[in-house]
Amino acid sequence: MTIMETRKHGDAADGMVGGRFSRLDGKLKTTGGATYALEQPVKNLVHAVLVQSTIAAGRVVAVDAAKAKAAPGVLSVFTPEDDLGLLVASDWFGNRPDNQPFHPLPREVSFNGQAIAAVVAETLEQATEAAKLVKVSYEETQSVTGLDDPDAGEGRLVDMLSVGWGDAEAAYAAADIKIEAEYRTPREYHVPIEPHGLTVKWEGDFLTVWEPSQWTHGMARTYAEWFDIPYENVRIVSPFIGGGFGSKAMGYTYSAVAAAAARKLGRPVKLAVTRPQTFTAYGGRAATRQTIRIGATKDGVLQAIVHRGASETSVFADFPEQTGAATPLLYAVPNLSTQHRLVPVNTVTPGALRAPGKNPSAFGLESAIEELSYAIGMDPLELRLRNYADHDYQSGKPWSTRQLREALTVGAEVFGWSRRSHEPRSMRDGRQLVGWGIGCGTFPVLKAASEALIRILGDGSVEVVSGAIDMGQGTYTILAQTAAEVLGVPAEQVDVKLGDSSLPGATVAGGSMLAGAITGAVHKAATAARDELIGLALNDSNSPFRDTGANTLVIADGRISVPRGEGPSLTLAELMSAIGRDRIETQRNTLPEGANGPEDHKRSWTTMANVQGPTAGDLSMHSWCAHFVEVKVDEDFGTVRVSRVVSAFDCGRIYNPKLAESQWRGGIIMGIGQALLEEGLIDERFGRVINNNMGDYLVPTNADIPHIQVISVGIPDNDASVLGGKGVGEVGIVGVAPAIANAVFHATGKRVRDLPITLEKLI
């Protein structure tokens, strides 16, 4: 166990990888020099603006675009009348129906806020105003607006999400202590500060798309399939992404509209989704409900968990927000049963939002565990430790590494948990009620292959090249560190090029799997480059090392020399010059030998079909965390403010603590928003999100956030990844909302089981 000390830039006691380096892209981002998708200087651009439906279900009868077409500057109006000539592309896993036409501007309306038309004009202002002139007539049909709609029903059981062992119902029935409760989470939205959109340009049959992308290769495949052109003809460029959180890993209908418009008009098109439109242009986190029953002995030993959950999805596609995703993993329980149902409603298809499944799942389970602690009269920390899972009960496999006990004990110590009095309403700060709560989190280690190119240049500098992306997690920086460590050069000597589907393949920046995958590829490619350089140094006829008799060389601090310091010592530039090379290039991937052909590459870089789950091998691999939260509640007003957070994480080895801490805090802050503020408010009469803007869909401000202390208790997990790290990005949000709900209960004696915990629920 290590508690990371704050260290200044470059002081890397844990080696180059593991050092607290500042972001490689910091200067660009702080000077306005980082260029995002809608900022690319493309000549002869025209602007497209979407028109979205205003009904939840029905049919477009007519689109009157005459006024819009007559408006100044308007070039074209695309409507359901236009056959854009597209084909349905495959899903994330590479499954694709044959030759099925794709209508991104459909005639059938499935949700309120669905793209129905698009107006293209010379300027943004002209397109925006003309879009308001498009009149759409509908034939409306009955809609189902949400989980609570009487017509929604119980939904469809998703068999593959049913998990169970033992006899949970019987063990629950026989248990001394029983609790049962229903927990609910509303629609939640990503709200990246950079709204979605793209700039597209055709040159013959070649398409360039500047679009924020968590997955350049996967999205390139989508465009190629939509337009039935070779994959190689599509280039997705995404060097900077203004926040994604799961929402920028695929092409959406508006992406297809922009690209089709550009092709039809013969001019590059820029389409900016407006902030209100972002709430339905792609899906946020689905609303969920789950019932949890826990049976335990009087002294707090779990006997059974029975979990029944449901999430909403659209009427045309399935996206389960798996309410049972964390339920089987956190505790030792001899009998368990979870089931999940999908309820189709008239909404945009929900999507992946930071820790999909795990997040609402942990809200249910970690709230229920604290309810049990009060039913028994046991400290919730003690209850968690008493039911510590020594192995994965679901798979039966041992954990690879699981420092959750350390997270709980270290977190408790730093937080001062022992000073807590268990009774609700027993702690105060003046007028305010004070409450403390715990929430644990988990996120699986997903493994995928990736590829990277290393270039050692004549001046001794190093380039790392990959189509992987950096949306703020720090890919640029940790790849520079990885290459620098292997090649023995200062990190400042390494340049990293990312975010372009024409570069070597990489898996999606999602599921917290990119860092583990791409550092592995860079490590491999850099090792090969080092070996090649040393081989040349030993064997090249012009190398000063040739006659030293050494059988290997060392590279450190940018110099190459004979071990133990006897003989010549050259900078990399001097060596490259001596051997007459202007570059050494090595490209390596982490696919197994024997499955490393072009089709394997395409499948691995452009689909998730080869992604391995946490129990694919002999072990069960996950990141873990424990959050300790203090809230202060003004009981008269019902307002809750988070006043203190201590969170301890086991994410294995941390490649750059400075950046990992930022990601953890970011997850925790999103969790605070989820707990207290965030909720898509649906007007059931229209099936429409009413608070579709940042003034009404509230995300936390600076003033809502106290200092958050984050602690790493992880140890290197070399089964999880080449360099020993586990996922960092998503686990941070998991367990935050229940920790806050638990703290609110401790403060007030009121158990809020439906998020967010807004003031009207407490007064």
Partner: protein
């Protein structure tokens, strides 16, 4: 055809000439007409702060300011706060050192807001910084580091390291 007007804008100490419709916001003029894309569009509704820049030294939202309105005013954007020799403004340097951003999209607005926040004298305590930086939303959740960066830069400024900024005010 729509009406356009000719504007001459003073941005970062340089004169920029442009012909735009009167309805064009300062934000869109910067981004679409002048290739000054450091100023970001997050909501276009005055709800996020990503488009913050300075007009006559005061922080404002360029999405709710018409380009025509600010003719004759001094406009400063994120591209205009580093020293001529490329040295970063102390707030920019503090943002990098404290890792006060992740995706970087709200960052120019945060920095422009922070420069003004310090100048206004609203960076006296962490609590005050939090409140006076609350007009700049950060979805990556860099708030702790933003507060630390503003504190650090505020002390650098008050100890007289900063010179460029004072020129801008004058």
């Amino acid at each position: 055809m729509t009406r356009t007007i000719h504007l001459s804008l003073d941005i970062n100490g340089k004169r920029h000439e442009l012909d735009v419709e009167p309805r064009v916001t300062l934000l869109d003029a910067l981004r679409e007409s002048l290739a000054l894309t450091g100023t970001k569009k997050g909501c276009d509704q005055g709800q996020c702060g990503a488009c913050t820049c300075h007009v006559d030294g005061k922080r404002v939202l360029s999405c709710l300011t018409l380009a025509a309105q600010v003719e004759g005013r001094q406009i400063t954007t994120i591209e205009g706060i580093a020293a001529e020799n490329g040295d970063l403004h102390p707030v920019q340097a503090a943002f990098i050192e404290n890792d006060a951003f992740q995706c970087g999209y709200c960052t120019p607005g945060q920095i422009m807001s922070a420069v003004a926040c310090i100048r206004e004298g609203h960076a006296g305590s962490e609590e005050e910084i939090r409140e006076y930086m609350s007009g700049n939303l950060c979805r990556c959740g860099a708030y702790n580091s933003i507060v630390a960066a503003v504190r650090e830069a505020a002390s650098a400024v008050t100890t007289g390291i900063e010179a460029k900024d004072k020129v801008e005010v004058a």
